[in-house]
């Protein structure tokens, strides 16, 4: 032993699963389970888990959890799946569960985006197309909006009003005399404006206001206003087309409920008609369900519907339910693969398939005119493969963390190499691509850890308290006595795990 040189191991840098076990560096583990790293160099048993709900009937068979920020707090929105029916609940806190706010047969997953305190929910599932597992919206299903108050989610957008209203001269007032077309636009509780409906023609007189009767009312609390819209005086002879005309909102002509059947004594001049309502006629009355939802510059973006896996639907700014069927569309060049994810970074919309990435830039014009740039022809991700950060979408500081087939990769406009998961490449490459939909990544900046749900229903943690690069990140798997499906962060730093029956 005289010439023996002791080997001192005083740092532990996590799992090394790259190449043969013999290749494991001395300061790494060739295997490890259920451990955590202290801020120093200590290795400890991972933190235990406890139940998250204090209710008599806790949720079971959890498929998906999203963090949902309402106007009043940080909450969770949870999908369970039992006996073929997916049910979505709103877990406001440990003791309060609303719902199900939505129940749909075959909804094994859902896409989610929140805006203005409301939750936008799109049911989707996985379909076998050829030999590919394709995530896309459910057939015959739609985008839903949830108000966050425990009431049931309702179908987003809405149909125009129907019926035959009566129009007559009202009390003394004023209009530009001539043939005008009138219609009403519904406004929902979420601010959506329907296409004009109940269109009628009427010849106004210069000295009279206009009154409207038999205005259709449903009594629904979801309809908060009905706006009068009108054309300017039309040239004669009139061709009888009530729809392909330019309608404008009539200032101040609003019924502030959905019960009154009349709107009387409206006076206006054609010069007052400035706010165009014609574009409302191009909007989807029902928005088909998709597998991808995100917000981009206050616009809702939806991809991968049941019938079209490459065309994206983009709403008007600030109006998530107003999506034009004419120019609200953007297209990922079709190649047989579905769009799987979309995320904003530095004012650019990045759209991914499982192995391709492109970008769109909002130029201020119609989405259909946005320029498209091919970013990467080999790398993309799955439907939950972009790391979410607290309650924001995916960007953290100035980058995204994306789970590609290559590895867990930093993305700042390009995929950085080597990837963060360099040290566990063999483990990562062993994951089954066909189940990539199950890969979900959450970034917990407070803990300085990445939590990755793997297709085998275990959790791979990446501790980056020593730095977020492939050398310094420390990987370790966590395994529980149940299969883990989903993960979320709640109230800044509370890690929430959802488990199903396996």
């Amino acid at each position: 032993m005289r010439d023996h040189s002791p080997i001192k191991i005083d740092t532990f840098n996590g799992l090394w699963r790259r190449g043969a076990p013999d290749d494991t560096p001395l300061d790494h583990f060739q295997s490890c389970n259920n451990i955590k790293f202290s801020p120093g160099n200590d290795v400890l048993t991972r933190d235990g888990i406890g139940i998250s709900q204090s209710v008599g009937i806790p949720l079971q068979s959890v498929k998906r959890i999203y963090n949902y920020s309402t106007n009043n707090g940080n909450t969770l929105i949870v999908l369970t799946y039992v006996a073929g029916i997916g049910r979505i609940y709103h877990v406001a806190d440990a003791a309060t569960v609303y719902g199900p706010i939505l129940a749909i047969t075959g909804m094994t997953d859902f896409a989610f985006a929140s805006y203005g305190g409301r939750a936008y929910i799109s049911p989707f599932s996985t379909f076998l197309v050829g030999e590919l597992n394709v995530e896309k919206g459910l057939s015959g299903e739609f985008l839903y909006v949830y108000a966050g108050d425990g009431t049931a989610a309702r179908k987003a957008a809405g149909s125009p009003m129907t019926g035959n209203m009566t129009i007559a001269n009202g009390a003394a007032g004023h209009t530009d005399p001539g043939l005008h077309l009138f219609a009403f636009v519904r406004e929902t509780v979420s601010g959506y404006l329907s296409a004009p409906g109940m269109n009628e023609a009427f010849t106004t007189s210069a000295t009279s206001s206009v009154s409207f009767g038999n205005v259709t009312a449903s009594g629904s609390p979801l309809i908060v206003k009905r706006h009068l819209v009108a054309t300017r005086a039309l040239p004669l002879p009139f061709d009888g087309d009530l729809f392909n005309q330019t309608y404008y909102f009539v200032p101040g002509a609003v019924i502030n409920n959905d019960t009154d059947l009349f709107l009387n004594n409206i006076s206006f001049y054609d010069a007052d008609l400035l706010e165009d309502a014609s574009h409302l006629m191009d909007n989807y009355a029902e928005i088909p369900a998709g597998a991808v939802l995100c917000m981009y510059r206050s616009r809702l973006v939806l991809f991968s519907t049941f019938t079209d896996i490459t065309t994206g639907l983009v709403s008007a700014p600030g109006e998530p339910e107003a999506i034009s069927q004419i120019d609200g569309l953007i297209t990922f060049p079709p190649d047989g693969n579905p769009v799987t994810n979309a995320q904003e970074l530095r004012d650019i919309l990045y759209v991914m398939k499982r192995s391709k990435t492109i970008s769109f830039t909002d130029t201020g014009g119609a989405p259909s005119l946005w320029p498209m740039i091919l970013v990467d022809t080999a790398l993309g991700t799955g439907v939950h493969g972009i790391a979410t950060v607290l309650d924001s979408g995916g960007s953290n500081v100035d980058f995204l963390i994306i789970g590609t087939f290559q590895g867990v990769t930093l993305f700042n406009g390009k995929y950085n190499s080597p990837e963060l998961s360099y040290k566990v490449e063999s483990l990562w490459k062993n994951l089954t691509h066909k189940d990539w939909r199950l890969v979900q990544i959450v970034n917990a900046p407070i803990q300085k850890e990445l939590y990755i749900i793997l297709p085998n229903h275990t959790v791979l943690k990446g501790n980056y308290s020593n730095g977020m690069d492939w050398k310094k990140i420390r990987w370790s798997p966590d395994i529980y006595q149940m299969g883990v499906n989903t993960i979320a962060i709640y109230n800044i730093d509370q890690i929430i795990i959802g488990a199903d029956v396996f």
Partner: protein, 388 residues
């Protein structure tokens, strides 16, 4: 250890069970195949007229082609001749049967002049002549018994022995027009794993510990030395309602695997060269927290999850890996374990500095909010090789 001979199937592609000709010819040929000569019916089926091989036509123009062969039989077909005894079926194989390696023998074409086609293997430089021996030994890599991979090609009650991959090259540099293999026989060695293995308890919940013990006080018994994995099998249905067997295997090397058999789901097939290959859908669990101890005489496991809401009997088998290092080739029934269902699904919160897991533990007809404190499964870390 013994010698095994297996008859060739009539049709490799057909779902039709292999048929056996009752009137064989030239027993002598197959007496040299290694112990099968006493099985006249077996030999007859091999040499029966009208039984031809498979022909592959290469249009690639590359001058070579690779073929894959999957040998398939009904589990009730008597095809295994062990040590010259009359052939028995797969179902009648003795417990602990393990295949220690196989090889395929192909007749010399000059020696089979009576077939409708000359027994021919166009392979390498043989080209139907210039074969110096009666039989040619072909590669046997990957040849193993498989009975847990369902497919449209393997009906209920069937199994396969495969797959065998052959590379064929034109002898004169030109494109091979075709390659035909006929009149071949499979032969090999087998081992019977006599044992006195037991386990306890006989009923448990998922997550409980189960201990297997090998009694080797009798020198004829085997230890767990060559047991490669322990498989938990239970009946369930797939997403289409078809009956399947779900197998959850814990491997000696620490990984775990689940796959389904007995139905069409969720097995996937590729079909290169028109030959089905089998890729059962499976998931693996890295780093085996389920293994507490895997020794020569004692194996202690945590019963893995994967049983969904199943309550009932689970068949346990120990899968034996050939000590020579070739592929797995046998299984030993261990007995029946009764699994009780406990639903552990729900929403959990990671609790800093908590030293155990508290999980939902809903048993049949029990309260829906029942919980149980359990240990964190086997926290462990293993460094790289020191001084290796």
């Amino acid at each position: 250890m013994g010698i095994l001979v297996i008859s060739r199937p009539t049709s490799i592609f057909s779902l039709t069970p292999a048929t056996r000709s009752p009137n064989g010819v030239a027993d002598g040929w197959w007496g040299q195949a290694g112990g099968g000569s006493s099985d006249a019916a077996l030999l007859a089926s091999i040499e029966a007229s009208g039984v031809n091989g498979i022909t592959y036509v290469d249009n690639s123009g590359t001058g070579s082609l690779t073929i894959e062969i999957i040998f398939k039989w009904n589990k009730t077909d008597p095809i295994f001749a062990l040590d010259g005894a009359p052939a028995i079926s797969y179902n009648d194989l003795p417990a602990g049967f393990a295949l220690n390696g196989t090889l395929i023998m192909v007749m010399d074409p000059r020696e089979n002049p009576n077939g409708p086609y000359r027994a021919t293997l166009y392979r390498s430089l043989t080209q139907g002549y210039n074969v110096g021996s009666e039989f040619e030994k072909l590669e046997t890599t990957g040849l193993k018994i498989v009975d847990d991979d369902p497919s449209v090609f393997i009906g209920a009650g069937q199994f396969i022995l495969g797959a065998l991959s052959l590379s064929l090259t034109s002898p004169i540099g030109a494109n091979p027009i075709f390659a035909t293999i006929s009149n071949y026989v499979l032969t090999g060695l087998y081992t019977l794993y006599t044992n006195d293995w037991s386990f306890s308890p006989s009923s448990a919940f998922v997550g409980d510990r189960i201990t297997f013990t090998a009694d080797v006080t009798n020198p004829a018994n085997h230890s767990f030395e060559n047991v490669d994995r322990i498989t938990f099998s239970y009946p369930t249905t797939d997403s289409n309602g078809a009956s399947i067997i779900r197998n959850i295997a814990v491997y000696k090397n620490g990984s775990a695997l689940s796959n389904d058999s007995g139905g069409g789901y969720p097995v996937k097939y590729s079909n290169s060269s028109g030959i089905p290959t089998i890729e059962p859908e499976e998931f693996t669990v890295e780093n085996g927290p389920y293994i507490i101890e895997w020794g020569l005489y004692v194996i202690t496991l945590i019963i893995p999850w994967g049983f969904e809401d199943y309550t009932g009997e689970v068949e346990l088998t120990g899968e034996v890996k050939d000590p020579k290092g070739t592929q797995f080739s046998g299984s030993v029934p261990l007995g029946t374990l009764t699994i009780s269902y406990a639903d552990t699904s729900g929403i959990y919160a990671v609790t800093p500095n908590k030293t155990n897991d508290t999980i939902y533990y809903r048993v049949l007809l029990g309260p829906v909010d029942a919980t149980e404190d359990v240990v964190i499964p086997i926290p462990s870390a293993k460094t790289g090789f020191v001084g290796g």
